[in-house]
């Protein structure tokens, strides 16, 4: 019996080490490969190239604006969605999740057919001299479209989990709906919302497929970091690696922030 137990215990250990080792190797090796193909001097020199700086600045600006729009519109939308029953609510749920599974190229094409010069809305905007396609606005719109589910899903779940008796008690104590939201709802969901927000920013920063379809790849205008990697792959391999490493570092930092936030939330709960 004891021998049998020892064998199954060592078997479990072997399976655990092998499977975890495989997962780590599969995910880490490509990242390590990136670092092997460059050195600090090359990295620094590529990083100071104007087109790289342009791509970084553009990426940060567009992702920040996209994140801001998602928070401003998405927070009340997610709150009322989770607190109210209305016809077609389940369809709205599906719609919110759709960009997660929709190929970004499809999202880009769809946005182009809506806001492009010949698009459903775009053709009328064009009459007033407003062209969205292949501009920085198109970049932001593509980012909002693909990144919004990361925030909305998180916000919806947090608001749904929040016991309504807190809000109801606060109202009966004399607090206006806005005061309740600011002093009860927001503090109780803040860390969760923040981690959703960080994920949204990360997704917007890495957005490629939809952006190239609706905004093109114009250096200094619509060329974000992922698009700059794609552009540099044609000849300037070092630049491609530099931007990739930068994106890896940012992504790693973002995941670390989320991990800390999640742990803190766990402690509070």
């Amino acid at each position: 019996m004891a021998t049998h137990f020892r064998i199954s215990k060592s078997l479990a250990l072997v399976v655990a080490v092998t499977s975890i080792g495989l997962v780590v190797a599969y995910l880490a090796l490509p990242i390590i490969a990136l670092f092997f193909h460059t050195n600090p001097e090359q990295f620094i020199s590529s990083l100071t190239e104007p087109k790289v700086i342009d791509a970084i600045v553009l990426s940060l600006i567009t992702s920040t604006i996209a994140m801001g729009v998602i928070v401003l519109v998405g927070t009340p939308a997610a709150y009322f969605h989770s607190r109210m029953d209305y016809p077609g609510k389940s369809i709205v749920d599906i719609l919110i999740d759709l960009p997660l599974v929709l190929p970004p190229a499809v999202a880009g094409l769809a946005l182009l057919l809506l806001y492009g010069r010949m698009g459903l809305i775009g053709q009328y905007l064009h009459i007033f001299g407003i062209d969205i396609g292949f501009t920085i606005i198109a970049v932001i719109m593509a980012q909002i479209f693909v990144a919004s589910p990361f925030y909305l899903r998180q916000a919806k779940a947090l608001f749904r989990q929040l016991d309504p008796s807190y809000e109801q008690t606060a109202r009966s104590l004399g607090a206006s709906p806005l005061f309740v939201f600011a002093t009860i709802v927001l503090p109780l969901t803040f860390e969760g919302l923040l981690s959703g927000l960080v994920m949204t920013f990360a997704r917007a920063l890495g957005e490629f497929g939809a952006t190239i379809m609706v905004a093109g790849n114009l250096p200094g205008v619509t060329q974000t970091m992922p698009l700059a990697i794609y552009g540099a792959m044609q000849g300037d391999f070092n630049t491609a690696i530099t931007i990739s490493i930068l994106l890896v570092l940012i992504s790693f930092g973002i995941m670390a922030i989320i991990s800390i936030l999640t742990k803190r939330r766990g402690l509070i709960a």
Partner: protein, 226 residues
């Protein structure tokens, strides 16, 4: 005085209640789960809208379907305590009790004075910096009571206030409720399943069954008369 005459179609039955609660009276509301007790309290508090009827408190109309009056909950000044006490988990005991006063815009010095007095009165000095997860069920109820009393309510609504109490806290909370209702001369509706609460707290007990009041007769008086 609180005058309620409301109706609303719920999922399985129609809630239709006519009830009057006098100042200083502690009306006990009993009934099975899902009979409509909490729904009635929510309507009085303004958290749920009746389809028909009126709610008048001390001559002020809080709700009237005919006149299209529906005063929002924050303007009703009702001390409503939920079953779970709903102590705001991110705030301390002191901050919880001060919440309503802060929401009403009361200045800090006045607020602190009032809250300190309530904390002393409720014997919560030792717990004033604690948060909800450090409190027992009974302590939570006391904090919820203090928080509701702080706004000087004109009506008390208590949903199962004794449910989470142990034998030590039970008489304390019960006595405090009785004291508040009597000394402030305000109407109170108390939802409970405890038979003993009905005996000792009661002036009048009503049983609600599938949305209708079944025993509107003042039981206490009836017993005395017979």
């Amino acid at each position: 005085m609180l005058d309620i005459s409301v109706s609303r179609q719920l999922r399985d039955f129609e809630l239709s209640v006519d009830l009057t609660v006098k100042a200083g009276e502690n009306l006990i509301l009993t009934g099975n789960n899902g009979a409509g007790k909490s729904t009635l309290l929510n309507m009085v508090a303004g958290l749920m809208t009746p389809e028909q009827g009126h709610i008048v408190l001390n001559g002020t109309t809080l709700f009237d379907s005919g006149k299209r009056i529906d005063v929002p909950p924050e303007e009703r000044r009702i001390g409503y305590i939920f079953q779970n006490a709903a102590i705001f988990p991110h705030l301390t005991v002191t901050e919880n009790i001060a919440y309503g006063l802060r929401a009403m815009g009361m200045g800090k010095p006045l607020r602190e004075k009032k809250v300190t007095g309530l904390i002393k009165q409720l014997n919560l000095d030792q717990l004033k910096d604690y948060k909800a997860d450090q409190l027992s069920g009974g302590q939570k109820q006391l904090v919820a009571l203090g928080r509701a009393i702080a706004i000087d309510p004109v009506l008390l609504l208590l949903d199962e206030p004794f449910r989470a109490l142990d034998s030590t806290m039970y008489p304390i909370v019960k006595e405090y409720i009785q004291d508040v209702v009597r000394s402030r001369d305000i109407p109170c509706i108390l939802v409970t399943h405890h038979i003993s609460d009905q005996e000792s707290l009661d002036r009048r007990t009503c049983r609600i069954h599938e949305g209708k009041i079944k025993d509107p007769v003042p039981l206490y008086q009836e017993a005395v008369q017979s």
